[in-house]
């Protein structure tokens, strides 16, 4: 189980790298915001897996707080894009 969790976390880390390609390439600002949102979600899943893999229950708390903060950050990016458009 520990090996499976760490392997899945490694695959998710590779997926985060792939998503950061879109973060760098993205032609418009909303594209980059979408890529950042997906990276945040993948990172939360990776933290949950790593907390089982390393047997550290604290990592899940970090993941919860990170998910909340990334949600607020996405809303603020959307608000900023709204204000820039009008």
């Amino acid at each position: 189980m520990i090996t499976a969790c760490l392997t899945a976390a490694a695959i998710l880390a590779a997926l985060i790298l792939l998503a950061s390609v879109r973060l760098m390439l993205g032609p418009t600002a909303p594209d980059r915001a979408v890529a950042l949102d997906s990276i945040n979600t993948l990172l939360v899943a990776t933290m949950i897996l790593l907390s089982v893999g390393f047997d550290q229950p604290v990592f899940v708390d970090v993941a919860v707080v990170y998910a909340l903060l990334s949600f607020v950050g996405t809303l603020f990016i959307a608000k900023y894009l709204n204000r820039k458009a009008s």
Partner: protein, 156 residues
């Protein structure tokens, strides 16, 4: 823990990783912001929810087998993370799609822009005083004349 429970956890983790991979491929391959949001938000949220469910099942079963209290707290916190992901991603993607539309990003290959038409019709009827901070009053007049303005503008 028993073998078939371990297999269930493996299958749940596998489903989660596969859905996340599909979401990232869609993020890389789709042509515009809206289809990227469509591909990315749903599949990534679904995959992460499955990973959280797998971790919660594993922790609860191990806590039942070993009587370990920290495993129970790990499982409960994984479920809390699941709830936060499910609600936060949906709301955030709606806000991002609205912001992208206001930035002037057009759907690639799109023919009809119903939201722009509805906002234009609302602005024509004299409600231009509502700024960008309140999108709801602009969208309310769209509800009753659903097909009317769209059909007229296409025929002209």
């Amino acid at each position: 823990m028993s073998d078939w429970l371990l297999i269930v956890v493996y299958v749940l983790i596998g489903i989660g990783v596969c859905f996340n991979a599909v979401g990232v491929i869609g993020l890389l391959r789709f042509p515009d912001v809206y289809s990227r949001l469509h591909a990315e938000t749903k599949t990534t949220t679904f995959g992460s929810i499955f990973i959280a469910i797998a971790v919660a099942v594993f922790c609860f079963v191990r806590a039942g087998a070993e009587g370990d209290g920290s495993q129970v707290s790990l499982g409960v916190h994984a479920l809390v993370a699941l709830l936060v992901l499910a609600f936060g991603n949906a709301t955030g993607s709606h806000a991002l799609a609205m912001a992208a539309h206001r930035c002037g990003v057009k759907p690639a290959g799109g023919v009809v822009d119903a939201l722009a038409k509805a906002q234009g019709a609302a602005a024509d009827t004299g409600k231009e005083a509502a700024p960008a901070s309140e999108p709801t009053p602009k969208e309310q007049p769209q509800a009753e004349p659903d097909d009317g303005p769209a059909g007229k503008e296409e025929s002209s």
